[in-house]
């Protein structure tokens, strides 16, 4: 049934809308129209406040700092970073994996939850998808930044050339190029497709050049039934295409490590372990960003405890998987009876990098365990704090995997340590600013919540009269 919304069966958004409608009625306001949703969601668009401008300036300054550091690194040589022999990969690859991980929950929320008809995704999918795009854009920089000769980066692509040399498709790094670029392309198309009706709504809201801008971007969307039928189909298919990518991309990224012979990397559990970790970190980042959006744009009515609790559950689940993976790694090292593997893992917990290791365990296993308590799952400040912890923990997880494994490899004479340099720290700051810069631009340029889907819910709720039935009990909906 083409017109069927995927949110049948009730969900938190409907409940919040019902609440909102209720309160309007109680205050004697006229019945809300679909225009109300348009108005509420698109109110912040293109209306920059001084706070926004200040924040944007700060992050742009950060981007410039990172850019300058990178330029220095290209000019002088990658030796200005702290990476060395034997630790050939450090903060850059840590950040690459970190940002690819962040990118994961976006597609998970929009595509997989769409296919599973989990209605609670509606208010968060737009921002989560945007986060995905920006996270991939950030992640994609790091394979470039970490190259010794970035000016030849295009050699990693299979382009026809006179020299007839192709990349080596056995190399996990080439697989990376394909996995990440595919993921970026599909995520971008999926996101843009979802935006089309909203862009049309914005076109109608504005006059002049703004109308022209959004009109062009909306590709002439008229909202006819025929358009909706095709649109729904396309969206469903794109969701279908995106879904395997959620699993594949981070599996491929994990193969950067698992396909090597480095003790601590060479492990068959890496693909599921990394995918779980990616979702874990991605959900945490969604929570962090959503709390920010909710606070900044006054979207309390649309982003409720209900949504956050669902994300918290996902966080808890993936935390358990990640914690299990940590334990399994140690078990495998023990069970392998391979002294080199065993030494590598013992050193991870007891050696020079025991600090990062125990931060990782604390942030990713201990802190999320508090989410067993419903009260904490529904406390937005608590979740915000926990999500920050998880972000930190997942950053350290990648650091621990990459650096500790390389630092203690097979030949003991070759052991060494790694400390990031100021260039790497500057690029780290730049990367976070780069990500937030795009997110801030997005928040002022596009609706952060899908207007079309919200309106569907509004119509749907009125038709079925669920508003009153569920008012006040949004949390009961599963």
């Amino acid at each position: 049934m083409p017109g069927r919304t995927p949110t049948d069966g009730g969900d938190g958004l409907m409940a919040t809308l019902a609440n909102r409608i209720d309160s309007r009625l109680r205050r004697g306001n006229p019945l809300p129209t679909l225009a109300d949703a348009n108005e509420d969601i698109s109110r912040p668009i293109l209306v920059p406040s001084w706070r926004y401008a200040a924040l944007l300036s700060v992050v742009i300054a950060g981007v410039l700092l990172g850019g300058a550091a990178w330029a220095w690194q290209i000019y002088r040589g990658i030796g200005v970073a702290g990476i060395n022999h034997p630790v050939g990969w450090g903060l850059y690859i840590t950040l690459f994996v970190f940002w690819v991980g962040i990118a994961h929950s976006g597609t998970l929320i929009s595509a997989i939850l769409y296919l599973f008809r989990s209605g609670w995704r509606t208010t968060i999918n737009r921002a989560a998808e945007a986060m995905t795009i920006f996270a991939v854009m950030t992640a994609g920089l790091f394979p470039l930044i970490h190259l010794g000769r970035v000016w030849y980066a295009y050699w990693l692509f299979p382009y026809p050339s006179q020299r007839m040399i192709w990349p080596d498709f056995r190399s996990p790094l080439v697989l990376d190029v394909f996995a990440v670029s595919t993921y970026f392309t599909v995520s971008l198309i999926f996101w843009y497709t979802g935006l089309i009706p909203d862009l049309a709504a914005l076109r109608d809201r504005f006059r002049g050049w703004k109308s022209k801008l959004y009109g062009t971007l909306s590709l002439g969307w008229q909202g006819t039934v025929r358009e909706w039928v095709h649109y729904r189909r396309a969206y469903l298919y794109l969701a279908g295409i995106s879904t395997p990518l959620v699993l594949s991309v981070h599996s491929v990224v994990s193969w950067d490590f698992a396909l090597s012979i480095v003790p601590g990397w060479h492990s068959t559990i890496f693909a599921p372990y990394f995918v779980a970790g990616a979702i874990f970190s991605g959900v945490a980042m969604v929570i962090t960003l959503m709390v920010g959006l909710r606070f900044a744009f006054g979207l309390e009515a649309y982003l409720t405890e209900y949504h956050f609790e669902n994300m918290a559950k996902l966080l808890l689940l993936t935390s358990l998987i990640v914690g299990y993976a940590y334990a399994v790694e140690y078990f495998l090292a023990y069970y392998s009876a391979d002294p080199i593997e065993q030494e590598s893992f013992l050193w991870r917990a007891r050696g020079a990098y025991q600090g990062p290791f125990w931060i990782m365990v604390f942030c990713n296993v201990v802190v999320p365990a508090t989410l067993w308590f419903r009260k904490i799952r529904r406390s937005i400040p608590a979740l915000f704090v926990i999500s920050i912890f998880v972000n930190i923990g997942m950053f350290y997880e990648r650091f621990v995997i990459i650096v500790t494994s390389l630092a203690h490899e097979y030949v003991p004479s070759g052991w060494g340590l790694y400390t990031p340099s100021w260039v790497e720290i500057a690029i780290l700051i730049g990367a976070f600013c780069w990500f937030y810069m795009w997110f801030l631009i997005f928040a002022k340029l596009l609706p952060t919540i899908s207007i079309a889907e919200v309106k569907e819910h509004l119509e749907h709720g009125k038709e079925h009269g669920h508003a009153e039935a569920h008012a006040g009990h949004p949390g009961e909906y599963e």
Partner: protein, 1029 residues
């Protein structure tokens, strides 16, 4: 306009050059290109190196013997420390790019690290570029480091001549068995100067002891190859003492298990040097008591063999039990050593060397001479008369006397040549101050060293590789040194400068007026003696081509002395009561007496014992370190009566708790960019204390007090863990198991050679699969291979800062692992580690751009210009032998002239590693192809293999079952490092062999590294406190 004829140097005659690239109106495309070409060439010339290299191939009409692109080999010779070395220098386009040994000479074609790095002295940008005169007067505008102004040679000769006429001249030189040394004598006699020789590392104690013992003031040769039992009382004969290359060759023969022999080797002394680490057994005698230990051993030998004779009463006083307490060695250990020596059929004892140069060094040597006499070694394993004539140098008191005369004004002129007393004399003598009080001081140094910096004139001499010379190898063998190229700087052959000076003074020497002719004429008597039928010119040319008179002469063995009967009544002095902690100053393989310190290859060469680079350190026993509360890199202050210094600690288990050792050679205050202000000079801690009988400076035995100075110093240690944690990276086998026939216990159960030839490893159609064997039993860790590799493969040095981050570039490194023995001691395995050229290489499939790939001949090749620098290959290399160019490293002009044109110079962002010297493989393959044959075994020698004194490295074709490398790969001792990874390395290591009791299966003791103990390479610390106070 087309006929303008502008030269490359770009004179603006005519329109075209001045028109510039934009061109005047009407310029055709052809003109434009011409202009661009000419201006481009002009710019290139203007920016290029000085005019001696302004054209890539400078010869329009080729000279004979010089074909661009073809390697020329010329024979020459030079002194390396105290060892005469005959060379085959390799030249490309008229520049020396690599030194190899002359196979005809006693060094058998092999070189030490110090010899390999002589090229860096030749091309050193810090050489004095021409005559220099000190700027007198106020400090205003005068650079304190280089207060010299340019002068002309004529002015220099005039000054020299004037000084000679004044009288009161002292010629202060080194002491070498060369024609130069003889010339110094003749010259001094002719001009009426006093000739004083000074070498900090002299052999006065040996000469004096042999004078007493045998009535021969000579240094014998040690024929270790004939020995079946070796005991060394301290000399670092594999590193720095006497002739380390030759002795290492002989030592490896004595311990060649493949020929069914393995002479047990015991080291007696307070500290394990390079030679000490190779020993099967360590008798840690207290510093200065080596002689007592030798007497105790001799007592046991005499008792056992019953050959004590008149010595019996002397030796009775030195039974092991009697000396046990004073030497700090259990009597049983000395007794067992004596018994083993007595039972051996060809035992030999080596003397204390520099490390045993205490206040009673001569007596220590005498004790060893007595022991050798009792062992029957004299005349067989210890031979007189066949070696280079070692010259006696001034004693410390003579030098003190000279300093006094310089102060008093009695000496009016000092001419210094081939010596750097300002650095190598104990600081307390005050040579530097005295030098300032001498009227005319002339240095003939090539570098602005400490002595030159204090002189009024510098008349820089050419490098030995730019000079004529003749070196006496002993036994009638003489090498002729010929200049390999014109002088790079405005320098003169040292002897020619002195001849000119003598002429200017009106006291010319008899004979030809230039040194080259004097050398040539000097051989005429030999020509006559040989009854040659050729003309003298022909004979002389052949002599030069062959490197001199190097063939073994038929001269009968010189008459061998017997122990002087008077020795029996010799009264040995009682060694001074043991200081609580005593100092030991030792030379290193990198710097010798400090002369190697400005060579970046040497600074960046990990010390074979400590693995430290670019600095100084104080070696402390773990107990001593603990009592001071310091660890590696923590600053320690060392105080003596004469001075004090502060340097980072190195905690070393191979030293006695009551001894601290500091390497010699660092702490320069001048000399050049790499040497200056780096590390500490321990000679500042010495007073005038010297060996009582010979007057040689006492490098051992000075009492010190230690104090933790607080803070960290810079100590860059290139090795991570000191043990291989049972990973079987190294293997150490018991000698019985190896030598006994049909031993199966340690044989590998896979046919390694077959494995290596597995289909994957090379193209089945290729006749070659290059491979290597590295014999850990032969390897002494001398690190010559490392430096040879730097020279051959254009490997940059990166400096202290960058090395501290683990970024040194050595393609071959030596890992030194300690292995615990069953008796609670330890053994050391030195393991050269280089690219294993795996058949199934982990680095290959991970490269995204095929920059690392497998060649049809089985080489694991790296294509520099394809590399994008992901470093994944390095991460995935289990041997950690890949090196990344973190920066583009500068190679200062004229050091760039040393670069091998056959090897690419790499830029930043590119991975590199050992290529098995692919340029040498290609050269041989092409030559073979031109002749329509396959490359023969032994035709290709990698740089590391070529130079290895011990012959530990064998390279060749594994597909040729008869090749040396194939046969060696099948050895029972053979194993592949990290075999379990199935990387199928092309390098087969042959296990080290020891007489010590190693655990039955060395390597099976768990694998749980103690994270506390087994460290990573040391981090960089602060600069604080590096300088001596």
């Amino acid at each position: 306009m087309s006929g303008c004829g502008c030269s490359g140097t770009g004179s603006p005659r005519g329109g075209c050059c001045s028109a510039g690239p934009s061109g005047p109106p009407g310029t055709t495309r052809r003109d434009f290109l011409k202009i661009v070409g000419v201006t481009g060439a002009g710019t290139a010339v203007a920016c290029g190196p000085p005019d001696y290299a302004d054209k890539l191939i400078p010869l329009l009409v080729q000279e004979d013997e010089r074909v661009p692109g073809v390697l020329d080999t010329y024979a020459t010779a030079m002194m390396v420390g105290a060892e005469p070395i005959a060379l085959h220098a390799q030249l490309r386009e008229g520049r020396v790019i690599k030194l190899e040994g002359n196979p005809q000479a006693p060094n058998r074609g092999r070189l030490s690290a110090l010899a390999q790095s002589a090229l860096q002295d030749l091309y050193d940008p810090d050489r004095v570029p021409g005559p220099r005169l000190r700027q007198e007067g106020s400090a205003e505008g005068v650079d304190p480091v280089d207060p010299f102004a340019e002068a002309t040679w004529d002015e220099g000769f005039a000054a020299l001549g004037a000084a000679l006429q004044q009288g009161g001249v002292v010629l202060l030189t080194g002491g070498t068995p060369t024609a130069r040394d003889r010339f110094f004598g003749e010259w001094a006699a002719a001009v009426g100067a006093e000739h004083i020789r000074w070498e900090p590392l002299g052999y006065g104690a040996v000469l004096t002891a042999n004078q007493i013992a045998f009535g021969r003031r000579e240094v014998p040769t040690y024929e270790l190859q004939r020995a079946d039992r070796i005991v060394c009382f301290g000399a670092d004969f594999l590193g720095t003492w006497l002739s380390p290359v030759q002795l290492a060759i002989r030592f490896s023969v004595a311990r060649d298990v493949d020929r069914g022999r393995h002479a047990k080797y015991t080291f007696v002394g307070p500290r394990l040097s390079v030679s000490g680490l190779k020993a099967d057994e360590w008798v840690p005698a207290r510093s200065g008591t080596e002689g007592l230990a030798a007497l105790a051993v001799a007592a046991v030998v005499a008792e056992r063999r019953g050959n004590g004779g008149q010595l019996t009463s002397l030796l009775a006083r030195y039974s092991p039990e009697a000396v046990s307490e004073r030497t700090g060695v259990p009597a049983e250990q000395l007794r067992r050593l004596g018994e083993e020596l007595a039972e051996a059929s060809a035992p030999v004892a080596l003397p204390p060397g520099f490390e045993g140069q205490s206040f009673e060094a001569t007596e220590s040597h005498l004790a060893v001479a007595i022991l050798n006499h009792l062992l029957g070694a004299v005349g067989d394993r210890v031979r007189f008369g066949g070696g280079p004539p070692v010259t006696a140098v001034a004693s410390l008191s003579q030098m003190a006397d000279l300093v006094e005369r310089m102060r008093s004004g009695e000496v009016r002129t000092v001419i210094v040549a081939d010596a750097n007393p300002a650095f190598t004399l104990p600081g307390s003598l005050g040579f530097v101050d005295a030098l300032r009080q001498v009227g005319t001081t002339i240095s003939l140094a090539s570098h602005l060293d400490e002595t030159a910096a204090g002189c009024s004139w510098i008349l820089p001499s050419s490098h030995p590789l730019e000079s004529w010379g003749e070196i006496d190898f002993g036994g009638g063998r003489r090498a002729i040194a010929q200049p390999l190229m014109g002088p790079i700087f405005d320098t003169r052959q040292m002897e020619d400068a002195l001849l000119q000076g003598a002429a200017a003074a009106g006291r010319p020497l008899a004979g030809p007026p230039d040194f080259a002719a004097r050398i040539r004429e000097g051989t005429r008597s030999r020509f006559v003696a040989e009854g040659e039928t050729r003309s003298f010119d022909e004979w002389w040319r052949a002599l030069l081509a062959g490197g001199g008179l190097l063939g073994r002469t038929a001269e009968p063995l010189a008459e061998q002395p017997v122990l002087d009967a008077a020795v029996a009544s010799y009264g040995f002095a009682e060694p001074a009561g043991p200081a609580e902690t005593s100092l030991l100053i030792y030379p290193t393989v990198q710097f010798y007496d400090g002369r190697g310190a400005n060579r970046s290859w040497m600074q960046e060469l990990p010390d074979p014992v400590t693995r430290a680079i670019w600095g100084s350190w104080v070696e402390l026993h773990p107990e001593t370190a603990e009592s001071l509360g310091v660890g590696n890199g923590d600053l320690v202050e060392v105080d003596t009566a004469a001075g004090s210094l502060t340097a980072p600690a190195f905690v070393y288990r191979g030293i006695r708790p009551d001894t601290v050792a500091i390497p010699l050679g660092q702490g320069h205050t001048a000399f050049g960019r790499n040497a200056r202000q780096r590390g500490v000079n321990p000679l500042g801690l010495l007073s005038e204390g010297a060996d009582r009988l010979s007057g040689a400076p006492a490098y051992a035995g000075t009492g010190v007090t230690l104090r933790a100075a607080g803070g960290r110093g810079r100590l860059v240690i290139t090795q991570g863990s000191d043990t291989d944690l049972g990973r079987e990276i190294t293997k150490l086998l018991g000698v019985e198991a190896v030598l006994s026939a049909g031993h199966e216990a340690e044989g590998h159960d896979v046919d390694l050679a077959e494995l290596v030839q597995a289909a994957y490893d090379s193209d089945p159609n290729s006749p070659y699969r290059w491979g290597m064997t590295v014999d850990l039993n032969a390897c002494t860790g001398c690190a010559a291979c490392v430096t040879a590799c730097y020279a051959e493969n254009n490997i940059p040095t990166v400096g202290a800062e960058v090395s501290a981050q683990g970024r040194e570039m050595s393609w071959i490194r030596i890992d030194r692992y300690f292995v615990e023995t069953e008796d609670g001691g330890f053994q050391t395995v030195q393991q050269p580690m280089l690219c294993q050229h795996c058949g199934d290489a982990p680095c290959e499939p991970v490269c995204p751009v095929y920059a690392t790939y497998h060649s049809p001949e089985g080489l694991n090749a790296q294509i520099y210009n394809r590399c994008v620098g992901t470093r994944y290959c390095s991460n995935n290399c289990p041997y950690k032998v890949r090196r990344f160019n973190w920066f583009t490293y500068e190679i200062s002009n004229p050091l760039n002239l040393q670069l091998n044109p056959d090897v690419t110079v790499r830029e930043k962002g590119v991975m590199e590693k050992c290529t098995f010297c692919v340029q040498r493989i290609n050269r041989a393959r092409l030559a073979a192809k031109a002749e329509g044959r396959l490359v023969q075994d032994g035709e290709i020698k990698t740089a590391c293999q070529q130079t290895c004194p011990a012959g530990a490295i064998v390279f060749g074709n594994l597909k040729d079952a008869e090749s040396a490398v194939s046969r060696k790969s099948h050895a029972k001792r053979g194993y592949h490092v990290l075999d379990e990874l199935y990387t199928r390395p092309a390098i087969t290591y042959l296990a080290d062999v020891t007489h010590a009791s190693v655990p039955a299966a060395h390597g099976s003791h768990g694998g749980h590294g103690d994270a506390e103990k087994d460290g990573e390479r040391t981090e960089a610390g602060s600069h604080a406190g590096e300088d001596a106070h």
